[in-house]
Amino acid sequence: MNPAQPFTSHVAVRDGRIVGAGSLQELEGWGPYTLDERFAEKIIMPGLVEGHSHTMEGMLWRHHYCGFFDRTDPDGLQHPGLNSIDRVVEKLQLVEASLTDPAAPLSGWGIDPIYFDNRRITRHDLDKISGNRPIGILHASVHIMNVNTRALEMAGWFCQGMDHPGIPLGEDGLPTGELKGPDVMTPVGVHIGFSRDFLDCDAQGLREFSRLCVRQGVTTATDLASRMQEDSVETSRQLTAEPDFPVRIVALKFNHGHTPEELVTRAMELKQQTTDRYRTGMIKIVADGSIQGFSARLNFPGYYNNAPNGLWYIAPEQLLQIYQLSLKQQIQVHTHTNGDEATDLVLDMMEQALRASPAFDHRFTIQHAQLANAAQFRRIASLGLCVNLFANHHYYWGDEHYRLSVGPERAERMNACRTALQNNVPMAIHSDAPITPLGPLFTAWNAVARKTCSGRTQGEYERITVNEALHAITIGAAYTLKLDGEIGSIEAGKRADFAVLEEEPEQADALENMKIWGTVQDGRIFKASDI
């Protein structure tokens, strides 16, 4: 990723840093060395940087994977996708049969009914697994859950007259077992093995997440919406400092539940606590919801199926205040927007904030910006903002967006990587793991191919080249985290962070199913199969 030296044969490493990259002859001048040839037949590229992920994926694997697509767990085991509700039920029946405690809950994760032609799962499906045991499955979106009758009984909700938009009812007037939204998921979740804080990540979960990183060639990953309570910060700092912890975590403080002043004050405190492998001091704001969930805020003409506009999670004044305080205190802010109206709000508030607190090189980043149009990208560029686009989205939800949420024209321009690059907007691309699987090379492939899972190409114009995509998952992402001086390319002085691949990544096809040997992080070598 060094434009001056795109390919080379050797890299010299000392004390976790790159002494130099070049030919053996060029590097010999540095002095005595040992030659490590284990990667002679492999490809070393800069360690991949995941600029939008959540370490909670490490926790989710405690539950049983029920997704449509194959997915690899922290142990390296590939779990085959389940392509129908019957398959999901069969898998969980097998698990159920192996359980010794008759009262223990059974929990799954990763499903999405849109892959079942939107045939909704009901409690009757899950009752086939067990009538006595509380059972539930979390959807891939993490925003919906399906439970069985027993779980509903335990929550006291298996009765007539339940009246809540998040609890759909069957023709019998009883809940179907689908639970939409955190307000209804929390009270039932506890009965099926999802603790109230299931979005948080404990030490074991962080370890599991780090193992996933090694398998995917990731050497720096974000935990992009952490509550960052004191004890969990301390645990994370200690864990990441362990000699064999293989990844650098960049943790951002989530804004919910804090006033702007509290939030920025806390971020400033956290900035003082940053360590080499647990970087802290940045803020994450969520402005609106999701497009496929119809909770994103859209400009005219709104949702394709005429669904009402979505929800704000922050008021304009609060957003402005956070930006202003943060610019003043040099705290970097990342803001989630999915709808274009939400993106406009960020742009308007940033403009005002910058007039009041001018700052150069703030690199505030818009996360997702899925529906941003060309005019918005021009404003993004002029305001010095970066974007991190959700390139994985067209694979997993592209057909949904085309048919239902935004319609063909806007679906084709969602996650507009080409437009971003044309307007010189610093760009990264991401998975938002666990929403989609961690795997920057696959994300890169998505930005290049823009294929939906039904095989259609969605938005030919916005496709980018392999080189541009590889740039986005290394130095591009590093730039949005202000780490581009330390990581993202193989050059003298930078961290010895590498992804070790079995094949050349220059071919688009290679990216889709790239075999990864492992990583080198701060000069330490991690073989995926040993992790």
């Binding site: 006291g156 339940m162 809540h164 929390t186 929800l311």
Partner: protein, 305 residues
């Protein structure tokens, strides 16, 4: 300070949802409520403790996100997770007499109210939406939050037009007219510094000093007559009175009268006999009037009041 009698009857805890955009005065209202609490055990759920200017003298202890106040009141910040906070409160041994939930400036109070139906230990009593009389008209046209404010106002049982001291009488009238036109079913109330007597917004009986026998109309009302309890609506003083309804009452007719915005009725509570040996509890909270059948007859001194 007046003494309020403790909550009678059903064991569901009444909940008042307090909504409204930023700067409308929600926090001031919460503070007002806590200062008037007296013997009442109130639990208040707030989005964040941030700007809650609670008198240091009132605070007994702070433990994480729970602030214990003198007199048994509790203030709890629920951050992002209202369901979890409700679960915690309902798991406690000592339950509050009344629960107040302050929502964030962009939250939809009706969505929050919906969540209460998930817990059978609580029931929705009131949705109060505050509006800053100086700015609400403009905010309702804001390109970003206009539709959110509209939904907030639409969902209110009672709209509190706050900060009337900051506008001229004419401006106030214009705003009131605009509100009436857009939301004809809504009840409005004006106030300054969010100062409102508790009995208007919470589910408590009128203090005896207000609803005293000397002030009540003593003529019994027959079934076929309509009750004509129109209260005069003064901007700074409420008219409160109590009415005795003897005999059997035509509930449907009575409810229709109570629901009519022209009555100016903001709050009412009482017991009527809807049929021989059948009693109902009538509640009027802003624009909502409901009659709940009672299993047992209320005490004789409350019957027909």
């Amino acid at each position: 300070m007046d003494e309020y009698s403790r909550q009678v009857t059903y064991d569901q805890i009444p909940v008042t949802v307090v909504g409204g955009y930023l700067g409308a005065g929600k926090t001031t209202l919460i503070n007002t409520i806590l200062h008037q609490a007296n013997n009442y055990r109130l639990t208040v759920l707030v989005n964040d403790f941030g700007e809650l200017p609670i008198d240091a003298a009132l605070i007994r202890a702070i433990d994480g996100n729970v602030m214990s106040l003198t007199g048994g009141c509790i203030c709890c910040s629920y951050g992002n997770d209202l369901s979890a906070a409700l679960m915690d409160i309902l798991a406690e041994e000592n339950l509050p007499d009344h629960l107040i939930i302050e929502t964030s400036g962009v939250a939809l109070p009706d969505a929050v109210a919906n969540n209460l139906s998930l817990f059978n230990r609580v029931r929705l009593h009131n949705i109060l939406v505050l509006a800053d009389v100086e700015t609400v008209c403009v905010q309702a046209r804001d390109r970003y939050v206009g539709d959110t404010i509209d939904r907030q106002l639409r969902s209110a049982y009672l709209v509190l037009l706050n900060k009337t001291d900051l506008v001229t009488a004419e401006s106030l009238e214009n705003t009131q007219r605009w509100l009436k036109q857009k939301y004809p079913q809504q009840r409005q109330l004006q106030c300054q510094y969010a100062h409102i007597p508790l009995h208007v917004i919470l589910d408590i009986h009128l203090p005896d000093s207000i609803a005293s026998p000397e002030r009540s109309q003593s003529q019994p009302i027959q079934t076929t007559e309509t009750a004509t309890g129109k209260s005069k609506h003064d901007t700074s003083v409420f008219n409160a009175f109590s009415v005795r309804i003897a005999g059997i009452c035509d509930l449907a007719a009575l409810l229709e009268i109570l629901r009519d915005p022209a009555s100016g009725l903001l709050r009412a509570k009482g017991y009527v006999a809807s049929a021989p040996h059948t009693h109902a509890l009538l509640q009027v909270v802003g624009s909502r009037a409901t009659a709940i059948p009672l299993a047992d007859a209320p005490p004789p001194d409350l019957q027909g009041r």
